[in-house]
Symmetry: C2
Subunit: 342 residues, 2 copies
DNA sequence: ATTAGCACTCTCTTGAGGTGAGTGCTAATC
DNA sequence: GATTAGCACTCACCTCAAGAGAGTGCTAAT
């Protein structure tokens, strides 16, 4: 049910790849000359007219070549695209880079540098979502009293994310009392994800700690807040790369994108996904006004087969899909190895 | 030794303020008509020729009005500028905003939102440097073992900055042993800034802990690293605001600035200062190629009369200096109050 | 079914002419 | 002696027309 015979597919493939390279509308002559299609320009013109009617390509004006539509890119990505391979140089750069990263113990640093390498290799803007709190499991919790009224809660998750939160103490507490609560919670919650704590378990915990119900409530509030606010740990790389794209010579578009880049909550909402593997969203598939001319390629990274975060590359719809997918997969793999070691 | 009589000063003042408003070269007629200077355009032309020769203004081309040079802005800022006042709306917005912020206990959140309000009010890009580690004093330290090989060091400073750092343990340690080291360090270092630790004191500490010299060395290494790397906690706000300025319609310039914005280390180097009060750096005074067309206005914020961080506004040299200075001072004051309460 | 040929369309570049803002200089005026 | 009116001149910018070039759709021949 593709609706496209092989010849049309070949021509569409030529149009997309040529346009991705040149950013110029592709004419029939260009195709008949530069691509392995033994047809005259006139024949190709006829086919192109068909492709246009079917919605895969369009003309910026009557006497120009064709450019792919969103539907055209979608078909290309789903059915036509060749697989790319990392160049030896890229491969070398990547392994060397992650060998360096291995020394780092803090996940936030790792994520930050991952964003950088991702944008450096692709020449697009990269977005990396740190391990999501609600997908992470408890490892350990500690409470450090700051003064009479406040204490610092330190939470270590199995994804290496370390969460600090200052809470107000309901009353002055003995160190001993704190230690008791902390020890109990550590014991009960170790290895569990926030999301997995059922209402039943919470009630049980609350019951067990009834004597210290006030502290407990404070802690739980803190956890819930963290699960919400903490999500927006998005790291960007290569924001200036979007300026290299001719489609963003319009100031207004850039402004909207830059403004979007400052809205961590919207970015993380965009990146958050349950889907596994590489996901490609083209143009309006992003459901964001500002992204109508952009494509976003994302991949999840994992801890013990559990997806905990997302890395992504943002470019124009005229993005080098094949190349970026290869790179993003390679980097996700490296990241998986690194996180497993934390 | 200003070299400028009152009339020339008045004219320069008119040129600068008009150009700041309009971004258009200012002609002699505009000045004689719109400003309280009872002179004909011809006379003003003569004076402007003088001002040009003295280096305060320049012409984009022979038959255009004048625009201020860097020297012209400098003189304006030093000698001519009127003081601005907050509008009632700004004032209200500010106090309300900081009233909300008061609830936050984490300095990083406060700093982040400060950057936002600063860019929102000024319509320029804001840069805020978090409390600098080496200007902060110890409040408390804790070590939380993660596993056999690693531990998390949590450091709380009096500026509210909470530093996490994972260190490798030289060997498996008893909790008791860790507690001992931590207790001792807490006792010895409380209230001291990193910078103030003399070699003598370090030697003393090292001596006292000779039995656990390995842990101690790890901790000190961590502190030193922190003092260096941790400095680059720069928060940006309103990066898209630079696109509002007509002088940045050139893609290349924007690209350079955006690239600079991603280099936290260079930004914090730029913001770091020992100077007190408001500091204005115009064009090449910034000593950064990318900033040759920009001005940067910074102010320190304080904890107990000790400058601990910097807030700043970045705009074109044609920046509304007076207005920005007023706003930046007001925000610095609010921030001082907030930090004192941490 | 394919292709060569051709008229046609549309963008983009180039150059000429006109407009307007602003200048510098000179001579008259206060 | 300082100020100003007047005037010729400069230069950016706009508009318009002409021409080039790339590419198309259609038709007729292969």
């Amino acid at each position: 049910m593709t609706g496209l015979n092989e010849r049309k597919q070949k021509i569409l493939h030529a149009i997309v790849t040529d346009y991705i390279q040149t950013a110029e509308p592709v004419g029939s002559r260009t195709i008949s000359r530069h691509y392995q299609i033994n047809l005259s320009a006139a024949t190709i013109r006829n086919e192109m007219a068909d492709l246009e009617e079917l919605g895969y390509v369009t003309q910026p004006h009557t006497s120009a070549g064709r450019i792919p539509t969103q539907q055209g890119y979608r078909f290309y990505v789903d059915a036509l695209m060749d697989q790319a391979a990392l160049t030896p140089a890229e491969e070398k750069y990547l392994t060397e880079f992650f060998r360096q990263l291995q020394k780092m113990q803090e996940i936030d640093l790792i994520i930050k540098y991952t964003a950088r390498v991702l944008s450096d290799l692709t020449n697009y803007t990269s977005l990396v979502l740190g391990p999501q709190f609600r997908r992470s499991a408890f490892k350990q919790m500690q409470i450090i009293p700051i003064d009479q009224e406040r204490a610092l809660v330190v939470l270590i998750t199995d994804t290496g994310y370390i969460k600090n939160k200052v809470i107000m103490l309901p009353r002055a507490l003995e160190q001993e009392e704190l230690d008791h609560v902390v020890a109990y919670l550590n014991q009960q919650m170790a290895g569990k994800t926030i999301a997995s704590l059922s209402a039943e378990q919470l009630r049980q915990l609350r019951y067990d700690l009834y004597a210290r119900i006030d502290i407990f409530n404070h802690l739980m509030n803190m956890l819930e807040e963290s699960a919400a606010e903490g999500e927006s740990r998005v790291f960007l790389g290569g924001t200036s790369n979007i300026l290299n794209q001719p489609e963003f010579k319009d100031m207004e578009k850039i402004k909207h994108l830059l403004t979007l880049f400052e809205q961590g909550d919207r970015l993380s909402f965009m990146l958050e996904t349950d889907a596994e593997g590489v996901l490609i969203r083209i143009g309006t598939e992003n459901n964001l006004q500002e992204m109508n001319d952009c494509s976003l390629i994302t991949a999840s990274y994992y801890l013990y087969d559990r997806p905990v975060g997302t890395i992504g590359v943002l470019g124009p719809t005229r993005m080098e899909y094949a190349r970026v997918i290869t790179i993003i997969e390679a980097i996700a793999n490296q990241l998986n190895r690194l996180i497993a070691a934390l």
